[in-house]
């Protein structure tokens, strides 16, 4: 199993446009963050892990030193030893030698994540997934139906606990930025409300890195400029910030005032992608063609199903490889007829892969790309039953997964070289 099969990392940056005052009504935004998600899920499902430092890794059996496996999540017990998420596994082991290392199960976590979003959708249709274990919801217009925003937060916490046996931290604010900052204030199992009237002072004591978008690099630069707290940032001359950070500097200063007018955008409302790609890093660099093909098979299916969910068809298929030395190689192919089924895309993807097989160097990553996407306005029906059946298989997989979870129905070939953890 690879690390990148966990859904992608949070998208950065909150925005403030000049018209931020357009919201006449004060918004009620919640940010829900499932605490130490992967580790908590494992602890909830395997009681013997409770109270113990747990590290979740994609490749727990990898060679200790220099191996690329990282701690995808550390339980709070492990964090007490200074272990951080994303830390190389060997380093985490040095800090916390008695930690229990558990192989992560991306499919299981994705399944829970989807159910989590379903729970949130019972409170409002404005649910924006932010990462596998976080989401924003806007309850401005549905608050009154459930009591108030704090009541909603309490109900969500209860439902998450009941359904998954884990805790979550919820931040409530007048916008996504403040909600996110608030949820980070109390972990685990927190509930923090920051009211609009208390801004910006309510967040001014916080260090600059409380703002999403200020990472280690920007933080160090700001510290050098004498900016340590959000108050420092808010009161800093804007011109100097602009010079140091460009336009981002202005955004960050706005953020220090707790200003953000970006709406909560439900997944369905996010526009169709212009291209779809799906890539996976191998636990260990490999020369094994079957393993590479199996990964490509799985990734192709994943990309095709995503394309299908958006009702798109592709005119470009690409495959790329990254080698052990980080050099890359890939090729795109324009297809003469728009394609939308797994069988069609697979044919092109594998034909491209063949050019690079056998691999000349150890392969670190393989990825597939679908481009030139066009909306499917209607469905052409095949004259031949066997053709229509292939299409039905794709639709069936999508439907089944929607109902029964992402690992409920798989094509067998994507299991080769892949360990599925049964619990």
């Amino acid at each position: 199993m690879s690390t990148t099969r966990f859904p992608s990392l949070p998208k950065p940056l909150f925005g403030v446009s000049k018209s931020w005052k357009q919201y006449s009504k004060e918004r009620a935004i919640l940010h829900i963050d499932m605490n130490a998600f992967f580790a908590s899920v494992e602890q909830a499902q395997r009681p013997y892990l409770k109270g113990k430092p747990v590290l979740i890794s994609a490749d727990p059996y990898g060679t200790p030193k220099g191996a690329r496996s990282v701690a995808a999540t550390a339980s709070y017990e492990a964090r007490a030893y200074g272990v951080k998420t994303g830390m190389p596994l060997f380093q985490a082991k040095e800090l916390c030698p008695h930690a229990v290392i558990v192989e992560g199960d991306a499919r299981k976590y994705t399944g829970i994540s989807l159910k989590f979003l379903e729970i949130l959708k019972t409170f409002t249709d404005l649910v924006e997934p932010y990462s596998i274990d976080e989401a924003f919801i806007d309850v401005t217009n549905t608050e009154h139906l459930f009591g108030n925003k704090v009541e909603i937060a309490k109900k969500i916490k209860k439902l998450v606990k009941e359904n998954f046996g884990i805790t979550c931290s919820i931040g409530i604010g007048p916008n996504k930025l403040v909600a996110k900052i608030a949820s980070d204030l109390e972990k685990p199992d927190g509930l923090v409300v920051i009211e609009k009237k208390d801004l910006p002072e309510a967040i001014w004591h916080l260090p600059v890195e409380a703002i999403p978008g200020i990472g280690r690099k920007r933080m160090l630069k700001m510290n050098l400029m004498g900016i340590h707290t959000l108050k420092d940032l808010a009161l800093y001359p804007q011109e100097n910030l602009r010079r140091a950070f460009g336009i981002v500097g202005v955004y960050l200063q706005n953020a220090a005032f707790g200003l953000d007018d970006s709406p909560v955008v439900p997944e369905e409302k996010i526009g169709d992608p212009k291209s779809i790609s799906s890539a996976s890093t191998f636990g260990k660099d490999t020369l094994d063609e079957e393993k590479i093909a199996s990964a490509l098979f799985y990734l192709t299916e994943k990309a095709v199903l995503r394309m299908k969910r958006h009702r798109l068809k592709a005119t470009v298929v690409g495959v790329w490889l990254r080698y052990e030395d980080f050099s890359s190689e890939g090729k795109g192919e324009k297809v003469k007829q728009e394609i939308s089924t797994f069988e069609e895309v697979k044919y092109h993807a594998f034909r491209i892969l063949e050019r690079f097989m056998p691999p000349k160097k150890h392969v670190r990553l393989v990825g597939v790309y679908l481009g030139g996407l066009k909306k499917i306005e209607f469905e052409d029906i095949s004259l031949f039953k066997s053709e229509s059946k292939k299409r039905m298989v794709d639709d069936l997989i999508i439907e089944t997964r929607k109902k029964c979870g992402p690992c409920s129905l798989l094509r067998a070939r994507s299991l080769i070289g892949e360990k599925i953890v049964m619990t």
């Binding site: 007829q337 394609i339 306005e377 209607f378 052409d380 029906i381 004259l383 031949f384 053709e387």
Partner: protein, 361 residues
């Protein structure tokens, strides 16, 4: 090598002989043509390993020899030369080919002739003899229906099957199917083969309205006419059984003027960018309409003769291809309820049918 030839004759030979030049440069030798002078004949060949063509032209050969030159610049140059006599000369080791006319000398660096694939002599096999125009007609009517996507190799081929004094040609991309039967002057029994549509597209550009001979072997077909031989690999695979797809009895039969119908679809689809066209037949009226996500709504009315009322939607491209491919003033459309195929035919005669599926909207 030393050849004396008329520019116009060389140009015409090259027009035919360059049809199989490879467009891909993976094998540089295949971007060339082989010029072979032997006896009193000049033979020019090209191949991309799948299709090949050889054209022969009588000429005065003063010294025999073989050279391979880059096809495109060579042909382009010959085309632009003035009319008159041309000399093709190569030095003793064949590394250069010079084209000399009255006032011009061009020297082409050649490619190693040993690398160029050997030609294949026409073998014994089953035979079809038919008129060149009929062959072109069959290709034009079917080739559009063949699949362009190589993921279904069998459907990228055009299917030929011999009948009694005729041959039935069919192609499908699984959404529509074209079937045409053309008469033959001679045809052996039990012939069935699948030719890549690309080969036929190239072939249709060199066929003249004259008798044409096709020799079929297990793996290849050879097409002979006049001074050229064209051969292609066949596709190995089972073409879908298509005859059973034709509905026994249509729900509604509509007769419409081709010209009016084509123009209506063309306006709605090409100009107004409607992709899904609905045909609604009521009494003697056909409403053709659709929604364009770019512009809005489009509707046209055409008077027709029909045996009933029905409403069906089609992919505009497939509908237009089908209607356009019919050479008749009046066309007959057989429609069925539900998700069942429609058949478009010329009003008189059964020799051509175009089958297409409706769409799920």
């Amino acid at each position: 090598m030393l050849i004396k030839i008329l520019k116009s004759e060389l140009e015409e030979t090259l027009r035919i002989a360059t049809r199989a030049v490879s467009s891909r440069t993976a094998l540089p030798i295949l971007t060339g043509i082989s010029i072979e002078a032997q006896g009193d004949k000049l033979k020019i060949r090209s191949t991309d390993l799948e299709i090949s063509v050889e054209a022969t032209v009588p000429s005065t050969i003063e010294e025999e020899g073989v050279v391979v030159v880059p096809a495109k610049p060579f042909y382009d140059l010959v085309r632009k030369l003035e009319e008159g006599i041309i000399y093709l000369k190569s030095d003793f080791d064949g590394t250069e080919l010079s084209i000399e006319a009255e006032n011009n000398i061009y020297k082409f660096r050649t490619l190693p002739p040993g690398d160029f694939p050997q030609g294949v002599p026409v073998p014994e096999g089953k035979k079809i003899v038919l008129n060149g125009d009929d062959m072109i007609d069959a290709i034009k009517k079917t080739s559009r229906s063949a699949s362009k996507d190589e993921s279904r190799v069998v459907l990228t081929g055009v299917h030929f099957e011999s009948g009694k004094n005729s041959i039935t040609v069919a192609a499908t991309d699984s959404y529509r199917l074209s079937v045409v039967t053309v008469p033959c002057n001679y045809v052996d029994e039990g012939i069935e083969f699948l030719v890549p549509v690309r080969a036929l597209d190239e072939l249709s550009k060199i066929i003249e309205n004259d008798e044409l001979e096709i020799v079929v072997t297990e793996k290849q077909i050879f097409v002979l006419q006049g001074n050229w031989v064209f051969y292609s690999k066949l596709i190995d695979g089972q073409f879908p059984a298509y005859k059973q797809l034709f509905p026994e009895k249509p729900s509604v039969e509509v007769t419409v003027e081709k010209e009016k119908f084509v123009n209506a679809i063309d306006r709605i689809a090409s100009v107004f960018k409607v992709n899904a066209i609905t045909m609604e037949i009521e009494e003697e009226n056909m409403k053709v309409y659709g929604h364009s996500s770019d512009y809005g709504e489009a509707m046209e009315k055409i008077s027709v003769k029909s045996t009933g009322n029905i409403k069906v939607a089609f992919n505009q491209q497939y509908l237009l291809d089908g209607v356009r491919s019919i050479n008749a003033d009046l066309i007959r459309i057989e429609l069925q309820e539900g998700l069942n195929p429609a058949v478009i035919r010329p009003l008189d005669g059964e020799e051509y049918s175009y089958l297409l599926m409706p769409i799920k909207s």
